[in-house]
């Protein structure tokens, strides 16, 4: 059991390292070094940089030295929480990102909960009542959920709510709350705005998970232990909920490891359509403006977030499946 946790943890660390390399690569990718870009930007805004200042900057970031030295300098600053300056905003990256990373996490997590909350009962229903009207209806709905990319869904919902109610459904806060400091009222405002984007984000994953749950449960329902449970005189509901559903939860739990990155990815896109104050719109803006420290940091943070999510889902899996727990005994 401990070996399992340790192995998963090490794999997670390795993934984080890979993501950090990818983030660093993204920072380095634009042609020219970024000090050039920085200088050009400063010059364009009317505050030219002298050659000595530029050299100081280059030295600070280790430019001109081999890549791995540059990576080392960057990563050693990153672990102390110094992610560099945003060129566009001319403020520390951490300051620019601010609450947005937490709102991203919140949105993804809410979508995860909705995905679970919908997929579990619907999956059970569809499997137990296979080929019923409800099963067909959910299957169809599931296909639509898979077929409509979530940004399109966001667009369509936005269009119709505008058309029918004249309301703009975007945002996570009411306009008067956006700049307020955190308070209970603001949290409540957030809670009111969160469900719609979360549901939109959750739909595709829910559709997939319903299909997985249904298929797994159908498999499990045919297994002999279900007959054993029935032969004990348990009620049908009890039989199904205690035994096959429990077994079908297993792949359900392991799937979350892939669901979470998927949701984080999706949140980037729908945030842009719905104008949500997550890191998504910031990332796209940063990439378009080649504000590379900001962009690299966001990619890194999102990556770390998904790795942590994956690790947690592994722990959940272990808790669900006694076989994994007892592997090392």
């Amino acid at each position: 059991m401990i070996a399992f946790v340790v192995r998963r943890f090490l794999l997670g660390l390795f993934t984080v390292w890979l993501i950090s390399v990818a983030s660093f690569t993204i920072i380095q990718l634009p042609p020219g070094d970024f000090v050039d870009a920085y200088i050009a930007q400063l010059a364009a805004s009317g505050s030219p940089v002298s050659a000595t200042e530029a050299d100081m900057l280059r030295k600070l970031y280790g430019l001109g030295q081999p890549m791995y030295v540059q990576y080392g300098k960057w990563i050693s600053r990153v672990v102390t929480g110094d992610f560099g300056e945003s060129m566009e905003w001319r403020r520390p990256v951490t300051e620019v990102i601010g609450d947005r990373i937490w709102l991203t996490l919140l949105l993804s997590f809410a979508a995860l909960l909705i995905t679970w909350g919908l997929a579990l009962p619907i999956g059970i229903y569809s499997a137990v009542r296979q080929y019923s009207f409800g099963d067909y209806a959910f299957t169809l709905l599931g296909f639509v959920g898979i077929a409509v990319p979530n940004f399109l869904l966001a667009l369509i919902i936005m269009y119709f709510s505008f058309k029918l109610f004249g309301a703009n459904v975007g945002g996570l806060f009411s306009s008067e709350m956006t700049i307020q400091p955190w308070s209970w009222a603001k949290a409540w405002d957030l809670a009111k705005h969160l469900p719609l984007p979360a549901v939109i984000l959750a739909l595709a994953g829910t559709a997939q998970l319903i299909r997985i749950m249904r298929a797994n449960l159908l498999d499990e329902l045919r297994k002999p232990y279900v007959v054993t449970a029935r032969a004990k005189g348990l009620s049908e509901t009890r039989v199904i909920l205690k035994y096959p559903v429990r077994a079908a939860l297993n792949p359900f739990a392991s799937n979350i490891a892939y669901l979470f990155p998927f949701l984080v990815s999706g949140s980037v896109i729908i945030s842009i359509v719905l104008g949500l104050p997550t890191v998504g719109p910031l990332l796209v803006k940063a990439l378009v403006a080649q504000d590379m420290f900001l962009a690299g940091t966001i990619v890194l943070l999102l990556g770390v977030m998904t790795v942590v999510g994956t690790f947690i889902s592994d722990l959940v899996l272990m808790w669900v499946d006694p076989r994994i727990r007892h592997q090392m005994d």
């Binding site: 045919r222 297994k223 002999p224 232990y225 007959v227 054993t228 449970a229 029935r230 032969a231 004990k232 005189g233 348990l234 009620s235 049908e236 205690k242 035994y243 429990r246 077994a247 669900v320 499946d321 006694p322 076989r323 007892h326």
Partner: protein, 339 residues
């Protein structure tokens, strides 16, 4: 002989699939008596297991019991109850306390997600009105009875931590949890090696003697039948083609199918390196069941056209029943005449 605990009369169970109807059980009759073992024998696909599930009312969809009676004589006398028409809620009180089931795959028959203690006490809590502590004590007692060593420790283990033989013992303990009067054992030893097989059969016989259990032992193994059964029902394509006491069936088999099954048992008496006789042909696909006597395409003693066109009726002679025109029942001929 006393009245049977359980009588199955003209049982029909069918599966209505998209491709057609499968008559898995197509008119089965037999009786089960207290303290005796009825061996139900036949090749795979003959409807043995579906019969067992029909009795418990747990046939998987799209299967359904379509006709016949399953009569259970209540404890302490009274008119028999027909399980085939009993509502689900009442049926659930039969499963466990009256009739219990032991399965062929001890691994797959347990859920891997709960301890064996959890899975045994569940039925006790449900049917016997005991508290948690008492139920656990009873579960330990049961494990001890079926010969599980260190039952107070084993009770908290998961099925995947036990060996195959031990698992089957636990399975039996679970089946006996609520003191059932009838135990259906569906191929209880098929998945086990020979020594473990013998131990499990010994255990079953022992429990039967101590508790007066009626056992329905379903198997394809004539050897197991010879060792365990008092009475035998030979099934072929959803029908009991021959029933009777075990000595009669083994010594004077009357149906050609029974004879063929008996010939195919390897014995130590046989000359070494001779070919074991096998039954010609294979079981027909359930969708195209042959007309007439279902066995006629493989029968070595076929009488002729009558076997291909007419179904042989059951012919009764003291304690025995056989469905074969060799023993009468040819339409048009006076009853009882031998061909």
């Amino acid at each position: 002989m006393a009245d049977p605990i359980l009588s199955v009369r003209d049982l029909h169970t069918q599966f209505h699939g998209r491709e057609g109807i499968v008559r898995a059980v197509d008119g089965v009759d037999f009786d089960v008596f207290e303290g005796r073992t009825l061996g139900v024998v036949g090749e795979s696909g003959c409807g043995k297991s579906v019969t067992a599930r029909s009795i418990l009312g747990i046939v998987d969809r799209p299967g359904r019991v379509m006709g016949g009676q399953i009569l259970l004589r209540p404890q302490g006398g009274g008119p028999p109850v027909d399980l085939a028409t009993l509502p689900q809620a009442a049926m659930r009180r039969i499963r466990g306390p009256e009739i219990a089931l032991v399965f062929q795959e001890p691994m797959a028959s347990f859920s891997q997600h709960y301890t064996i203690g959890n899975q045994i006490t569940e039925a006790i809590l449900l049917h016997m009105g005991l508290g948690k502590r008492a139920a656990r004590a009873r579960a330990i007692e049961l494990l001890d009875m079926v010969g599980v060593p260190q039952p107070d420790r084993r009770i908290d283990e998961y099925p995947f931590q036990l060996s195959g033989g031990l698992r089957q013992r636990v399975m039996i303990a679970m089946a006996l949890a609520c003191d059932p009067r009838v135990l259906i054992a569906d191929e209880p030893t098929t998945a086990l090696d020979v020594t473990t097989q013998a131990q499990i059969l010994d255990l079953l016989r022992d429990l039967q003697q101590k508790r007066g259990l009626a056992i329905i032992l379903i198997t394809h193994d004539m050897g197991v039948i010879a060792e365990m059964a008092h009475d035998v029902a030979v099934m072929y394509l959803g029908r009991a083609v021959e029933t009777g006491p075990v000595q009669d069936i083994f010594n004077r088999p009357r149906h050609p199918y029974t004879r063929a099954l008996l010939r195919s048992i390897p014995t130590v008496m046989a000359r070494p390196r001779t070919r074991l006789p096998t039954i010609e042909g294979s079981i027909p696909h359930p969708f195209d069941r042959p007309r007439g006597c279902a066995y006629h395409p493989r029968c070595s003693e076929k009488l002729g056209a009558v076997c291909e066109t007419h179904e042989p009726p059951p012919i009764d002679t003291e304690h025995r029943q056989v469905r074969c025109f060799l023993h009468g029942g040819i339409p048009g001929a006076p009853p009882g005449t031998q061909p």
